[in-house]
Symmetry: C2
Subunit: 391 residues, 2 copies
C-alpha cells in the first residue's frame, strides 16, 4: 500500500527511531568533553570497552551532528558535539603532509595509519558539514584543501604508501570513485555544479564496475572495466554496490540523465537480488561472482550497514520509478532490519548478526561501527517519506 | 581406555588419514610441474579457483613433503615434490635484501609483501627440512642465513616496514617468540644444543604471556608481561596458545625442566578450557579475556588448525602427565574434529565451520590453508601413538 498514510507512518517511525533511539545513545555515551572527540568503542549498554578514537568514526559523527543541526533543528548541543569532534580532528588527526591517521588515543596521540584514503575522506566530510553548521569559512577551506590532496592521491595509491608489485594485475577498486562521488556531493552542498566535471570522472570510473550483461557490480575490475578472474576480481559486496547505487542516483538526478538513473537503480536491484539470503533472509556480506566460497571468513554475516543503505536505496529507487518491486524491496528490507537489528533493551542497534540473524557481536560501537550509517539512512528516508507524502 | 590396543587403533587411524586421505589430495591437485611450486587455492574437489601461490603455504608444503621423506619413507616422488617447491621459493620468493614475499603469481612474479616475518619463517622451515631430504648443504646454508636475518628483525618490526606510532603502548606479540622457538627446533634437527641460548630467550619472552594467576595466555602483553587493557591486549586465541604450549613442551623436554613442562601443559589445558564452546562444541577462534565481544567478526567460527593443534597438544600432555583429564581432552577434541572436518566425498578436510559446526567455506586450500597443520598433526600424533603403544 503506497499512499500518503503509509508514507506518513514510515516517516514518523524513521524520525522517532533517529531522534529518540539512535542519536540520544551517542549523545549520552560517546562524547568526550575532557579531550574532545568521541569514544566509539561502546558496549551494548554504552559503556566504553576501549578508549581509542577511530578517525573514520570521528569524522562521520561530526558530519552527522552537523547535518542534524543544519537540516533538522538548530539545537545548540548538536553544534557543540560537532565542534568537539571537528576541533579534535583538526588538532590531532591530520599530519603536516595532509595524511590523516586511522586511529588515535583518547588524548589524540597517533595509533595507526592506513595505506588508503578513507580517513582523509571522512575528515573532509566532517570539515565541510561543520563549516556550514558553524558558519566559519576556515573549516570549508580545510575541507577543499584536503579534497584536492585526496583527488591527487586517489589515482595512484602508491602516493599514500601502498606498495606496488610486478605480478599484480592492473586493477581499480569501486570504493575509490564511489566515496569520491559522495564526497563531492557533501562538499558541494547546494552547489553541485562546482564539482560536476570531477563527478563525471567518478561516474565514468564507477560504470566500469557495472557489467550489465551479467547484472553484476564488481568491486575490482581492470582499468578498462574487464573482469579479473582472481579471488579479488570475483568478489561481490552487495551492500557496497547498493550504497554505490544511491550515490550515483543522486548525481543522475542532478545531471537529469535518465539512462544513468536507470543504471544506478539497477545496481541496487541486481545487487539486492544477488545478495539476499533466500534461506535465512538478510543481505549476505560477501559473495564470489562464480559461486566459489568467498575467502572472507565473515561472508555469510548480516551487517547493519548493508541493510540500512538498502533501505534508503530502495526507497530512492521507488521515489524515481514508482515501481511496485522497488517498494516491495524496501518493505522486505525494512521488515528484516527492524526485526533483527534494534536493541530495545539498551538502545541503538546491534551491528553484527550471524547468518541466521542472531547477534554475533553485542557492542554498539567498534573500530568500524559508529554514529553514521544508521542515523544517515534514517534521516535520508525520513526526508524522502516527507516528500513522497506530499506528492 | 588407555591401553596398547587403544593406542594401536588411533595410530592406524591417524596414519591412514595422513597417507591415504590428506597427502594424496595434495599430490594429485596442488603440484605445478610446469612452473614449480604448488597451487594452494583448491576448491572442494581439488580444482584450482585462483592460481596465485601463497608463500606461507609453499614453504610449509616443502617442509611437510621433506619431513615425510625424511621420517616416513624414502619415496622419490615426495622428494621431487619438495624439490619443486624449494627451487620455486629460492628462485622467486626471496628478494636480494632477504625479505620474502607473501604471495607470487603462478610463474613467480611478486604479488604481495607483509610487514611481518612469517613468510620468512616458513621459507626457513622449507630450506632446512629440504636440506636434510636432498642431502645438499647449500639449502641448510640458505636456512641458517635467513634465520639470522629473522632473528635481527624479530626484535623490531619497523625493520620490516611496520610503522611505529607515538600513541601505541609498548607491546610484544606471542606469535613472534613462539614461531621462532619452533623454527629453532626445525633448523636444529637432532642438534637442539646448537640453538639452546636462542631458545631460552624465546621461552623467556613467551612466558611473559602466561598469566598463571588468571590461567590465561594473552596474545599481546607489555614488554614486562603486564596486561594491556585494550582490544588487542584482551584478545585470546585459544588455538594459538595451545599450539604455543606444545612448541614449549618440546623444548621443556629437551631442557629436562619439569616446571617449564608443567607451564607448557597448563597453557594447553587453560586455553582449551576457555576456548571450548560449551554450547556447540569445538574451539572458538577468538575471545576477549574480560568477556566483551571480540572485534574479530569470525570469532565464533571453528577452524581446522586450532583443532588439529589441540589433538597433538593434548596427546603430548598425556604422554608426559599420564593424567586422565589430558586423555579425555584428547578424545573430546578427536571426536569433534573427526566428526566435523573430514570430507569423505572429495577427500582432505574442510577448514572453516560456523559456530554450529556447519561448513562455511567449502574449499580445501586458500590463502591461509594448505598442506600443513592437518598432516603435521596427524604425523606427530601417529609417531607419538607409536611410542605410547610400546611403553
Amino acid at each position: 500500500m503506497t499512499n500518503a498514510a503509509t508514507f506518513f507512518k514510515y516517516k514518523q517511525l524513521y524520525k522517532s527511531e533517529l531522534l529518540e533511539n539512535i542519536i540520544p545513545f551517542w549523545e549520552k555515551h560517546s562524547i568526550d568533553r575532557v579531550n574532545g572527540g568521541y569514544f566509539n568503542c561502546l558496549d551494548r549498554d554504552g559503556s566504553i570497552y576501549d578508549r581509542r578514537k577511530n578517525v573514520w568514526l570521528q569524522g562521520r559523527q561530526v558530519w552527522m551532528f552537523s547535518r542534524l543541526y543544519n537540516t533538522v533543528e538548530k539545537r545548540p548541543e548538536w553544534l557543540e558535539i560537532a565542534r568537539l569532534g571537528a576541533e579534535f580532528l583538526k588538532k590531532h588527526a591530520i599530519r603536516p603532509d595532509r595524511r590523516v591517521y586511522f586511529s588515535v588515543t583518547e588524548t589524540g596521540a597517533p595509533l595507526g595509519m592506513q595505506r588508503k584514503i578513507f580517513s582523509e575522506c571522512f575528515y573532509v566530510m566532517a570539515m565541510a558539514e561543520y563549516a556550514r553548521a558553524s558558519g566559519e569559512q576556515r573549516w570549508m577551506d580545510e575541507a577543499t584543501l584536503e579534497l584536492e590532496k585526496i583527488w591527487q592521491w586517489s589515482s595512484d595509491l602508491t602516493k599514500v604508501g601502498r606498495p606496488s608489485f610486478a605480478g599484480e594485475p592492473a586493477a581499480q577498486s569501486l570504493a575509490i570513485p564511489m566515496i569520491l562521488l559522495n564526497l563531492l556531493e557533501v562538499v558541494a552542498g547546494d552547489n553541485l555544479k562546482k564539482y560536476e566535471a570531477e563527478a563525471r570522472e567518478c561516474i565514468r570510473r564507477m560504470l566500469l564496475h557495472v557489467h550489465t550483461d551479467q547484472e553484476t557490480v564488481f568491486e575490482m575490475v581492470a582499468p578498462d572495466g574487464a573482469f579479473i578472474d582472481t579471488i579479488e576480481g570475483r568478489t561481490l559486496n552487495p551492500g557496497h554496490a547498493i550504497e554505490a547505487g544511491w550515490f550515483l542516483l543522486h548525481w543522475a538526478q542532478y545531471l537529469n540523465n535518465p539512462q544513468l538513473a536507470e543504471t544506478a537503480q539497477n545496481m541496487v536491484r541486481w545487487s539486492f537480488a544477488r545478495g539476499w539470503d533466500k534461506e535465512h533472509g538478510g543481505i549476505l556480506y560477501f559473495l564470489d561472482s562464480r559461486g566459489y566460497s568467498p575467502s572472507q571468513l565473515e561472508w555469510p554475516m548480516k551487517l547493519w550497514w548493508p541493510h540500512v543503505e538498502a533501505l534508503y536505496a530502495h526507497l530512492l529507487n521507488y521515489s524515481v520509478s514508482k515501481r511496485a518491486d522497488d517498494w516491495a524491496a524496501f518493505e522486505k528490507t525494512h521488515e528484516y532490519t527492524f526485526k533483527h537489528f534494534p536493541d530495545r533493551t539498551h538502545g541503538e542497534w546491534f551491528g553484527y548478526l550471524d547468518r541466521e540473524g542472531k547477534v554475533s557481536q553485542r557492542f554498539k560501537g567498534g573500530p568500524y561501527k559508529g554514529c553514521f550509517h544508521i542515523p544517515r539512512a534514517l534521516w535520508l528516508c525520513w526526508r524522502l517519506f516527507e516528500k513522497l507524502e506530499k506528492v
